[in-house]
């Protein structure tokens, strides 16, 4: 009889919609990634993608109003880390989310972008990205595949 499939493990993090609290999410994601089959660069890509998504929720969905909540859930599967960032603010245009890009001439200093790079970073760094509105909540989903062996939680070794 084969081994039973491992249950997915999940953690949910909630912060107030205040940019000064976002680092708590970043540090938490970094710590979790340190236990997963990611090298330093991949772990950084996960952390920065989550931070960018949370920043967007605060700045755009909630228009910098600090009395709302942003929820981040991380689900560890056998071969990947799934992440969802949820807010109850203004929704983004899904097409804009999934087709984000930064176009500029590196030699043309005057026209270099100073903002609007967050979605491009997420879509470049993560292996899959999706955006949905589910029961009046905006959900940005992303996932990153593990690089090496499949994940085996510390409690099972």
């Amino acid at each position: 009889m084969g081994e039973p499939a491992r249950k997915a493990q999940q953690i949910r993090l909630i912060i107030k919609s205040d940019l000064e609290s976002v680092y708590l999410i970043g540090l938490s994601v970094r710590a979790i990634c340190s236990y997963l089959p990611f090298d330093d660069v991949a772990a950084y890509q996960v952390e920065v993608s989550v931070v960018e998504a949370v920043n967007n929720a605060i700045k755009h969905a909630y228009r910098n109003e600090a009395w709302h909540e942003v929820e981040v859930s991380l689900t560890i599967l056998e071969d990947r880390l799934n992440i969802q960032i949820c807010d109850a603010g203004n929704a983004m245009d899904k097409e804009k989310v999934l087709k984000s890009g930064i176009e500029f001439d590196p030699a043309d200093t005057d026209k270099l972008p100073e903002g609007g790079m967050g979605l491009h970073i997420i879509c470049s760094a993560m292996d899959s990205v999706n955006y949905q509105v589910i029961e009046q909540k905006n959900v940005l989903s992303m996932s990153k595949l593990f690089q090496t062996k499949q994940y085996q939680s510390p409690s099972k070794t």
Partner: protein
């Protein structure tokens, strides 16, 4: 935010002492850099050796500083970690900034 600045000849070395340059301090950082530039500093080394995280807001503040310098000066980067460098590569900003391994190499390049 905490910044250390040091003048070496005509080159100003600015070293953020924060480990994270993110959206919560990006505006402050941008204003501090603008202060250095408006005070007449035209050759700037941004020493990122203490920084282990930058988001797009932090990166935007660095870009803003370069744009404020315009043609009259230059801003180069030193001490960047491999993880933070990945951020520059994801956004193609590694093609915009000259990046040096050490502060001394960066200062020498600007002092020429």
């Amino acid at each position: 935010m905490q910044l250390h600045d040091e003048k070496i000849g005509d080159v100003l070395v600015v070293k953020p002492l924060e480990s994270r340059i993110d959206a919560s301090i990006a505006v402050d950082f941008k204003e501090r850099m603008a202060g250095f530039i408006n005070a007449g500093n035209e050759l700037i080394v941004l020493d990122l050796s203490s920084v282990n995280f930058i988001d797009s807001s932090g990166l935007g503040a660095i870009v803003s500083s370069l744009k404020l310098l315009g043609r009259k000066g230059d801003l180069v980067i030193s001490g960047i970690r491999q993880t933070v460098m990945n951020m520059f590569k994801l956004t193609r900003m590694d093609r915009v900034f000259r990046i040096f391994e050490s502060r001394d190499q960066a200062v020498s390049a600007l002092a020429v």
